[in-house]
Symmetry: C2
Subunit: 253 residues, 2 copies
């Protein structure tokens, strides 16, 4: 049985805690965080502490604090014998100030209070030695059916790709909502389309799934759309996305 | 029982045919199209014709041809007594050259060969008179639990919003795929994230769901991401989307 200490009490810390608690092969022996209010949530189910100098011994330390604070928090663990891993897509393995370092990055967007099936979440792991990787692999295998060994360089690219498909996509959903609200239309009307757009690329390359005026090179429809838009940001986004799509398919038109 | 003629044999024509065939209140009495190969698919289940001057009598004519051809095809129906409706989000009611006009627009992205649950698809209808609207409403109610009366102006705005949340979003998925492939990473890694990004806004406003470097105003992460990008279109998209997100949340930073 692997023993795990979680550092941090935020969104991911809660999701990790729940997922680890539900597996057989590992248990959370302590949660350490600076936020007393949020520590309470964990206190019924495991030991808690808000003192980073009194962290107990464990096989794995999962640092789930905000990216900027990873190095600082890892310093409190520099003399531990277990593997000290952060959970960030954007931060290097080397940010950790401990002998046995690792990364334990779940490639997913977590929402406070919304449970997800951890089994299908890609867990990207990296260790500073084969032994460290093995320990993280063991923990990861208990949580997910999709464990990938990915080094810091590749993980950063993956995180960048995630920004496009998650953060920027979500912004486009927001533009869709804006246009609806400006025209007394319910955003609910777009929800089935949003779901199916994401569903489609689960089994088809986005390149194959691309449709719309820009894909068809339909200048008339694009001009009409631009006339309907008032907001400068929306116009710039419409123009750039359309151009990008036209460029991508130029040869085929 | 409403009788329906479908004009066109493309992607939407097939989906409409299947959905109408499965309801009790309506039946497809004929499918008319210029494409003999594609007409064959319908020929076992209903009457077919490739002659637009031999369209039979029906309560509703659904024109599911490409947007530019709607007016032309409707001319062949100008003396019919039934309601002649097109199925496009972008085209006005007035494009139809018939006495009894209508629009029957399913707000969804259809994929050839991939069956969808029509019940949850928003069906946006419009008729040139209350009686025409009523006929379309009756047909629509048999197909979907989400029937909306929406006029041509509002429908165009809705279609524009759909371009953002469907076409542009899909392009971002494509950029994510590109970044993966350029770095020997499987696009499969991003799929659960893509699904959850769409899932999240089913119950939460995109404004609330927004995360990422631009949302946090994290200039350092954004600079690092830009350094990783080589492709001009990707850089332009990254910059513009980040700016748009920063602008949207400026007041809160
Ligand atoms: N959320 C996701 O969807 C997701 C997905 C994959 C990876 N991650 C990674 O998970 C990590 C945590 O993210 P999150 O979303 O859980 O963030 P979050 O909900 O904002 O929580 C951040 C946590 O960090 C703590 N913290 C911040 N600065 C600290 C410091 N100087 N010392 C000690 N603790 C500090 C916060 O404590 P206070 O409450 O006192 O501020 C809080 O417990 C990040 O590395 C992130 O990249 C997140
Ligand atoms: N696909 C969707 O997801 C979707 C969603 C909502 C609404 N719609 C609307 O549905 C309508 C059809 O779209 P689709 O996706 O089904 O397109 P599609 O698969 O490309 O099919 C287009 C159909 O139009 C026919 N056609 C084109 N020009 C014609 C002409 N001059 N005379 C007669 N027939 C002609 C084509 O015949 P050939 O095979 O001979 O070219 C084909 O049967 C459009 O108004 C579109 O806006 C589509």
């Amino acid at each position: 049985m692997l023993s795990v200490v979680i550092l941090g009490t935020g969104n991911l810390a809660k999701h990790l805690f729940t997922a680890i608690t539900e597996t057989d092969g590992a248990q959370v022996v302590q949660v350490v965080g600076r936020n007393r209010d949020r520590l309470k949530w964990f206190s019924e189910k495991t030991a808690i502490s808000n003192d980073f100098s009194s962290v107990v011994e464990a096989d794995v330390y999962l640092i789930a604090v905000k990216d900027d604070a990873i190095t600082e928090v890892s310093q409190a663990l520099s003399h531990k014998e277990g593997v000290v891993a952060h959970t960030s897509g954007a931060v290097s393995l080397t940010a950790i100030a401990a002998e046995r370092k690792g990364v334990f990055y779940p490639l997913q967007t977590f929402t406070e209070g919304k449970k997800l099936d951890f089994k299908s979440i890609p867990l990207c792991i990296e260790g500073s030695s084969p032994e460290d990787t093995l320990v993280l692999q063991k923990l990861a295998n208990g949580l997910s059916d999709n464990v990938q060994q990915i080094d810091s360089d590749q993980r950063k690219k993956l995180h960048l790709a995630a920004v496009f498909v998650n953060n920027f996509t979500n912004h486009l959903f927001g533009v869709g909502e804006e246009i609806c609200l400006e025209n007394q239309l319910s955003f609910d009307l777009l929800k089935p389309l949003i779901k199916e757009t994401a569903e489609k690329v689960q089994s088809m390359s986005p390149k194959m799934a691309q449709t719309g005026p820009a894909r068809r090179g339909d200048q008339k429809s694009m001009q009409e759309h631009l006339k309907l838009l008032k907001n400068k940001n929306q116009i710039a986004l419409y123009t750039l996305c359309s151009e990008a799509i036209e460029n991508a398919y130029e040869k085929e038109l």
